[in-house]
Amino acid sequence: MLYYKNKDDKKLFSKTMLIEVKNLTREYESGELKTLALRGVSFNIEKGEFVSIMGPSGSGKSTLMHILGLLERHNEGTYKFEGHNVENLSDDELAHLRNEKIGFIFQSFNLLPRTSVLENVKLPLLYSDKKIEADERAKKVLEAVGLGHRLNYHTNQISGGEQQRVAIARALINEPSVIFADEPTGNLDSKSGTQIMEILENLNKEGNTIILVTHETHTAEYAKRIIKIKDGEIFDDIIVARRHSAKDGVILK
């Protein structure tokens, strides 16, 4: 797939800039009613960052995540992912990008039911055209999240925390450029939740870019930077002064 249309693009392209968003607008139409979910947001995110996008429900944070994750198209403004304008990409090209560059973690895990842990983690490889030794790679990522001993268990046989870890392993299997986590601890108890945040912390330390979407200040402060959003607009973009770390122990919500 052609990434650079001409050499000038390549020169201008900063190798560390992952996401460049300018005046992003998203409008929903339902019958006669028009809702503006995003009203011209602009920001950049570099590779290796750990960013939280935080806001109350209805603020547009989920919409923003969907657009950044190439699951939804914006109406106005520009979005450059790894230097490439996504407006020009077809549905199939977006799917290809999602497969190779993006990993998702959802609040409700979204694992395939009645399927083994191993098969769940291998799922993205099904749609990849790269020749990879699937079982080997899947075992490696599962071991990285501490589930090497649960390979053949079925999703209904493991706990919520373990399911979310399977989801993380699945997100990692194609070695993505960025991981989006949408309220990853929302359905977990505090102990499992902390475990998950620890894994995300470690992943970021190893160089993975993490974008966390949440409505809780506490969870958001695991990141290094918080983008605060309300009513479809960004009203604050701060570096976190005192970060939480999983090593502080179990913190009550």
Binding site: H66, E72, D91, D92
Partner: protein, 391 residues
């Protein structure tokens, strides 16, 4: 899936049974011999049933006509001719009575009809031309009136007229759907004058020396009969008789049974259609139930094409399995039916052609593709964000 199974099984069974029935009928006709010519009174279209079959009584066929065909140099290929009058009458012997078919015959009976004597003798040529009251019994009639004892020389009553039994025919079973055991034979003249009180024939049958000469001989017979009846029109438009040969009969049967087979197969195919619609509905439900899964697959990078393909393949697998089960069921049922029918004494070939197997599986797959397309496209078109939110 049940609809597909039933549909395919139905098609297989109908095709097999249809072929078997066709074979049976054709065999029956063939046992009669493919060298026979039948002459019926009344004109009719050779593609349709004879007038006499529709209950119309026509009196134009005469005994002289039958005799004119015998040893006639204008129709040298005729090996034998028999004149017939048939009727259903009551027979009695002492305390037993029995209703059966009475046939008044004259001519070369064994040459044309075949069969063998079991006891006694047959009617002589002169006797068949006279008013003598002699009768030859078929095996079933003999059993009914006399049991195991010999009837030769005894007197029975046919329609209250006394007849002497001179012979018994050997048991023969059904030939060309006619029961040769449940009848008695008397001289044709006696039949006409004494029993029926008429002077026309019901039927003439002739045997041709060779199948190859059928068409030629049929024309010769028509010419002779026209001369007998004073018909000058050689086109056949004014014929007051109907000449049929077994080749024509075979053709007619084939046309009829083929049309019947086609119709029944079409009916069975309808049930396949219903099965297909059922599959489509099931797949629509499945797609709906797996909305979140579809959203997830798209999120991890499945293209619309891949989603379509996934669900299409699932549908085709289901229909192929259904088709296979239907195929095996159909073959089993046809096999059992054939065994039962053979047990009843008919010759019935059990055959499942490779064509019908190929058809069954091919159609099953096609139905899967056709009816699975709509649900598959629906799955592919789902918006990933909405799908992921689906409860």
């Amino acid at each position: 899936m049940l609809g597909i199974i039933i549909g395919v099984a139905a098609v297989i069974i109908i095709m097999a049974l249809g072929a078997g029935a066709q074979g049976l009928i054709i065999n029956q006709v063939k046992t009669m011999g493919t060298n026979k010519i039948g002459i019926l009174p009344g004109k009719s279209d050779s593609n349709g049933p004879p007038a006499s079959a529709m209950g119309i009584v026509i009196t134009t066929l005469k005994y002289e006509d039958a005799m004119a065909l015998r040893n006639n140099p204008q129709a040298p290929r005729i090996a034998g001719v028999v004149a017939y009058n048939n009727s259903s009458e009551n027979l009695s012997y002492q305390n037993n009575s029995y209703i059966t078919t009475v046939r008044g015959v004259a001519g070369d009976y064994f040459m044309v009809e075949g069969g063998k004597l079991a006891e006694g003798r047959f009617l002589s040529d002169n006797e068949m031309k006279s008013l003598s009251r002699l009768v030859v019994l078929g095996d079933t009639v003999k059993q009914q009136l006399f049991g195991d004892s010999s009837p030769i020389g005894k007197q029975i009553k046919i329609k209250n007229h006394p007849f002497e039994v001179v012979g018994v025919m050997e048991k023969r079973g059904k030939v060309a759907f006619q029961d040769y055991d449940d009848l008695v034979l008397i001289p044709n003249l006696t039949m006409r004058k004494t029993i029926l009180g008429i002077d026309y024939l019901n039927f003439i049958r002739a045997a041709v020396d060779n199948e190859k000469n059928m068409t030629e001989t049929t024309d010769e017979v028509k010419n002779i009969l026209r001369a007998q009846h004073g018909i000058t029109d050689q086109t056949g438009a004014n014929d007051d008789f109907d000449v049929r040969n077994s080749a024509d009969a075979l053709k007619m049967i084939l046309i009829f049974t083929n049309a019947l087979k086609l119709f029944l197969t079409a009916m069975a195919s309808l049930s396949l259609l219903v099965g297909g619609i059922g599959i489509m509905n099931i797949m629509l439900v499945r797609v709906n139930e797996r909305t979140r899964e579809i959203g997830l697959r798209k999120a991890v990078g499945a293209s619309n094409g891949k989603i379509t393909l996934q669900f299409l393949i699932e549908t085709v697998i289901i229909t192929l399995i259904g088709g296979l089960i239907g195929l095996l069921t159909g073959i089993l049922v046809s096999f059992l039916a054939a065994a039962i029918i053979r047990n009843l004494g008919y010759s019935w070939d059990f055959s499942v052609s490779p064509f019908s197997i190929f058809l069954a599986l091919g159609v099953s797959a096609a139905i899967g593709l056709f009816f699975g397309l709509y649900p598959a496209r629906k799955a592919a078109k789902m918006d990933p964000v909405e799908a992921l939110r689906y409860e």
